[in-house]
Symmetry: none
Subunit: 527 residues, 2 copies
């Protein structure tokens, strides 16, 4: 690539996010994904400060096979009144074996005095000594100038002095940090522009999202001459998070024409950012720029008609460049065009049978009038479409009846018990299941009843369940919509059910989810 630095701190600053806790194997797995994303530097943690990170660097040396990325160890300048060569925390950075060491250095007078309780002169000496010691140890040294921007807008003198001290001592990069995340792009642009004029070293940006501007602030720094950007995958980080590095890279590469990573790596962005969220166990955000599931999803019928003809009219970039793809959503704002487009996506061509298309559109509109929604239930929509095309419903079993009893007494937690009676594979079955809720019990009873006829069901798991009460003005008399997500080892699908009774709506969505899963596996109905 270029000599532009893409520096990832998901494993260190990203791990500061509330509710995010990474084991050493988690960190090793994520480091591999970051490397596949084509990032130049992976900050692995703070060896010495935290035993888990010390172990990460120990195991990384033998277990990690990085293609592009260089490993960086994060740490701090030496303690006040000590020698760098004697400071255990500094020595741990050397022992980590990481070729790059990134040192956090205070660049705000208030923080030096009120938080670090030392003098401005001693802080400068701490930067000078620690950088030169590590350089003498053969390390590439990067410096994170903490609270740089907060300090700069008050008075540029001291933070600029810290930056110059770092470069003078041999630092290769100084990353300017908006540690509290309160900056807006014009402030960042001005500060970096002025600093760029007085130093030749490589300047970087480390931004947080507290004003919702982390990405824009990072780009503003680059516009002003920074050639090193720091961030995290999926924007993980303390408080509102760090700059989303995938979004930053995609903007630099696709909007500004700077090739900062291998285009083939960028084309894996969706897959890899979702793989990272599998490890962190934090669900991906559908609205995430470029890689979100909704990032190229279109709902408005107005758009859909034109989309059919010219996708680029309503897309800011080609989704394939980040491994994403365009989707149309079926909704009451959608007309025939978006339904035809959706059908085509699912492999059904309605465009040549106007009568079939019209019938399908009418059925969707009527159902939506009753509270159904298909924009979050592709599987139910495909079953509906299939029924219209083939002229008959897909029926894996014939329901005779079901019943659920939920009770509680003497203050004990309620328990639900469901009984299902149906015919499958030529036999009448009666099965009972218990659960901590009516739907949970129904799910267990239905699986029990179908276990012999369709053993494939064992591979399905209900992974999400959402309830929406429609026309709230009637309170508990209202219509209920239930959305269910079901997963197997390779995929997941959404189904919907609508009925006045929440349990009935759940039953409908549950039956659809089983039918769709069996259909996808090519299982023939044995009613």
């Amino acid at each position: 690539m270029t000599d532009f630095h893409v520096y990832d701190t998901t494993l260190r600053d990203g791990a500061q996010q509330e509710g995010l806790n990474l084991s050493v194997p988690d960190k090793l797995a994520i480091a591999g994904y970051l490397d596949q994303l084509g990032f130049g530097f992976v900050e692995g943690g703070w060896p010495g400060a935290n035993p888990k990170d010390t172990e990460f660097f120990r195991r990384a040396a033998t277990e990690l096979r990085l293609q592009h990325a260089v490993l960086a160890a994060f740490g701090s300048t030496r303690r006040a009144g000590t020698e760098a060569a004697q400071d255990p925390q500094v020595l741990a950075l050397v022992e980590s074996g990481a070729p790059v060491v990134t040192l956090v250095a205070k660049s705000s007078p208030r923080h030096v005095v009120e938080a670090l309780h030392t003098t401005l002169e001693e802080n400068l000496a701490m930067v000078r000594d620690t950088v030169s010691f590590l350089v003498a140890q053969g390390r590439r040294v990067f410096v994170d100038a903490e609270h740089f921007f907060d300090s700069y807008v008050q008075d540029p003198a001291y933070p600029v002095q810290v930056v110059q001290e770092a470069f003078a001592a041999g630092a290769e990069v100084v990353a300017l940090c908006d540690t509290n995340g309160g900056m807006l792009p014009p402030q960042v642009f001005r500060a970096v522009t002025e600093l760029r004029a007085v130093t030749d070293g490589i300047l970087g940006a480390h931004c947080h999202n507290d004003t919702g501007c982390a990405v824009a602030n990072t780009l503003a720094a680059v516009d002003a001459g920074a050639t090193h950007v720091q961030g995290t995958v999926n924007g993980y980080g303390e408080r509102t998070g760090n700059a989303d590095l995938v979004t930053v890279v995609a903007n630099l590469q696709l909007k500004q024409g700077r090739e900062v990573v291998d285009p083939a790596a960028l084309a894996q962005a969706l897959h890899l950012s979702h793989a990272v969220s599998e490890v962190t166990n934090i669900p991906p955000v559908g609205r995430q720029p470029y890689v979100g599931a909704s990032a190229f999803a279109h709902k408005a019928g107005l758009h859909a008609s034109a989309l059919k003809v010219h996708p680029d009219l309503y897309q800011h970039t080609d989704p394939a460049l980040v491994g994403n793809s365009m989707r149309t959503l079926v909704s009451d704002m959608a007309g025939r065009a978006s339904i035809e487009l959706k059908a085509t996506e699912l492999g059904y061509d309605l465009t040549h049978d106007r009568e079939l298309a019209a019938r399908t559109v009418k059925r969707v509109k009527d159902l939506e009038q009753d509270g159904w929604t298909f924009d979050a239930a592709d599987a139910s929509f495909e079953l509906l479409l299939r029924e219209e095309v083939t002229g008959e419903p897909l029926q894996y079993f014939a329901t005779e009846s079901w019943r659920i009893i939920t009770d509680s007494g003497d203050g004990r937690e309620a328990l639900s018990e469901a009984t299902v009676k149906l015919r499958a594979a030529g036999r009448r079955v009666v099965a009972t299941g218990e659960g901590n809720g009516p739907v949970n019990a129904l799910d267990h009873a239905l699986r029990e009843a179908l276990a012999d006829a369709y053993p494939e069901l064992a591979g399905f798991e209900l992974t999400d369940f959402r309830v929406r009460i429609l026309d709230a003005s009637h309170g508990t008399d209202a219509t209920t919509r239930v959305l269910i997500e079901t997963s197997d080892e390779s995929s997941s699908w959404q189904t919907v059910g609508v009925a006045p009774n929440i349990v009935h709506a759940s039953w409908t969505a549950l039956v659809d989810s089983f039918s769709y899963g069996l259909l996808k596996r090519g299982v023939q109905p044995r009613p």
Copy 2:
């Protein structure tokens, strides 16, 4: 305030978000919250294009009592080759009765020709005719210049002509739209600066977040002279969403010192944005700027003591200004200020009894840990508060047990039957109720059982019922949170219940709603 326009489109563009589907009562409730946020304009929908929106405007006229906000109806310029006065879609805008009409007008030659299939001249005439017709009908007319920026970067001539045509015809505002969301701040700044130089009209910005820069792009337009900003609460919207209007307003007001909304309204931002997400049933994002649960949460590495001595060292702004509070993830003192504030609102003074305050805060924190939320359940919070203050729970009756049977057979609609056994007014009562759902049946059975002891219950009606599944990763095994709204002739109140079993959670919220209603009427418990 100033004559700066804060224009919300949550109910129109926000509703384009995947999985977001609002009923008319939902829209009316959200409009009320937007008004409390101090926003100047609330875009309610597209009457005529969508029967639901037509009904919204009809009901808004009699049911909405807006303090600050002016209602806007969204629509399109007349169809090509017709007269504005004859276009049913244009007439529906007049019939909506909204004082402001916002017209979407194409400002990109490619879209005029390839999507609208008409000529550039006819498109200008469509803008001119529709604006002047609506102005003649006594409406304030705003114009959304669709695809303005995409078009401007190609060739400014035509989009500028569209803007000037709109103003010449009497438009009060022209909002420049980054419809595809692909812009970066410097492009927006340049375009608005150049346009500002050739027109005197009020310019606005409507930005989407496809590059992660919706907020920064909106601010760039304001820096260049725009005085009208459009966005949505929680950044809802198609694809990656619209500019998060709360973040935009907080940045303008707290970072740039422009008072664009009442500071007292901004101080309700967290409460109101969470209340909106209870209506949309889309879980709030912890990392959301300003109002996210994590936005001012500090994890390990910082010394809580230093944080307490100098909070401004680690915060970009005072969280209280947006109704949020600082949390150090080790301290359960967190949130005390907001809880004391809420208590004072409800007429309980905790500020002089620190031990009581600390006990209440701890109990709330523990409950929130288990999934309870009091943002949208003031009545349950007041009952909790009252219990802490008086030292005993408010008990109108003693529950022995309850049971619900829900069944369906031969394809008939499911029916629920509930039996409740309890003691009230010194008597043991066994009562049964039927309903079209478990909670409906439970409601009927409980009313039946308490009818003699508390005839006042006849005046209560369940007017809303919401379910949220927490920790969805467990599917139907997850914890369930139920929010209930109850009304009588003069007021309405919200209660909450949390339990693994949805019916149990509903029972808890139901009992709270009856207790609170009786308490408000001064009814003494007769257990």
